[in-house]
């Protein structure tokens, strides 16, 4: 079985954003659980945070293919 070390590196690099996205949605869920009426406000913030954390993972996969 052949492969590229880039992909192993990308797998390792994806741990960080994975943990980050998990923390963001954990905070979002507990926020909505405590105060269900704040859902619409929290949703936008959670998706924004998700997008910013996910950018790292996405740039990682770009570099894994490009380098």
């Amino acid at each position: 079985m052949e492969g590229s070390l880039n992909m192993v590196g990308y797998g390792l690099a994806a741990i960080g954003p994975g943990v980050g996205i998990g923390l963001i949605f954990a905070a979002y869920i507990s926020g909505v659980a405590r105060q269900p009426e704040a859902r619409s406000v929290l949703q936008g913030i959670a998706i924004l945070g998700f997008a910013l954390a996910e950018a790292l993972a996405v740039i990682g996969i770009g570099l894994a293919f490009a380098l």
Partner: protein, 264 residues
């Protein structure tokens, strides 16, 4: 970098890679090759234009199904996203943001429409062009509102920060606003579509290979699971595609809103 996986006795599985996105031109006009993503962009533009023209022309007080759908999407941007991010002045930017959202959403969704099945936004030129338009708009709006000096002063030297931090903060803020923002807008959309399409290719082609080109019960079982899983992943990919269109538009709106206000 091709990854070869020995799954059968005789044949080898060629894993999908970036080369699967490099399609040959469908036809040529004056030596200029027209590729599938270009055709998708043209078709999407026509589809969006005609749909909204028809919906707006026959606008009724009591909306029908089509008008209700179009107005729902428009209201989602106009009454949901823009007031939250830009505020009272946002009405001027609703047409741009609405067009951006619908255009990106349709181009993304082309990745899971049967027989089209190619997310046009996975070619970097398309998100790059859209990100540059957003970049020009939010910088223009900021310079027009705060003046050239004021815009960069508010960007690089935000008030309420200790003086000693400024040498560190000013270049970082400049870099983040002027360079990182368009780059991340582009890369986020491009590689989300690229990676999502690659995963779909992998589950479908891998499932087909295991099912038809290997012997034994293990290959049959794994191929069936892979193909069934690809259906779930296609639905998930549709959700991601709409979400990414929303994220691109939301970030554009936030950048415009940030350029309009003095302290951010």
């Amino acid at each position: 970098m091709p990854v070869a996986l020995t799954a059968g006795e005789t044949e080898e599985f060629e894993a999908p890679g970036p080369a699967d996105f490099e399609l040959p031109p469908a036809f040529e006009i004056l030596g200029f090759g027209v590729t599938k993503p270009m055709l998708i962009v043209v078709a999407a533009t026509l589809l969006i234009g005609i749909t909204f023209y028809i919906a707006a022309r026959r606008a009724a007080v009591v909306p029908g199904k089509g008008q209700f759908f179009v107005e729902g999407v428009y209201g989602f941007i106009r009454n949901g996203m823009v007031p939250d991010t830009i505020g009272r002045e946002g009405a001027k930017y609703v047409p741009y943001l609405f067009t951006l959202f619908v255009f990106i959403a349709v181009l993304n969704i082309s990745g899971i429409i049967p027989f089209v099945q190619y997310p046009a936004t996975s070619r970097i030129a398309i998100p790059l062009g859209l990100a540059v338009i957003s970049w020009i708009i939010f910088n223009y709006v900021g310079i027009k509102r705060q003046g050239l000096g004021g815009y960069f002063k508010n960007m690089m030297f935000p008030p309420g920060v200790p003086k000693a931090i400024y040498p560190l903060l000013a270049p970082l803020e400049f870099l983040s606003t002027v360079i990182i923002r368009p780059v991340t807008l582009t890369l986020r959309l491009t590689f989300n579509m690229f990676a999502g399409h690659l995963v779909l290719l992998l589950t479908i082609l891998g499932g087909e290979f295991l099912l038809l080109h290997t012997q034994g019960i293990v290959g049959f079982a794994a191929g069936s699971v892979s193909l069934l899983f690809s259906i779930v992943l296609t639905l998930f990919e549709g959700f991601i595609q709409l979400l990414q269109a929303y994220v691109f538009t939301l970030l554009s709106a936030i950048y415009i809103g940030g350029a309009l206000t003095h302290e951010h």
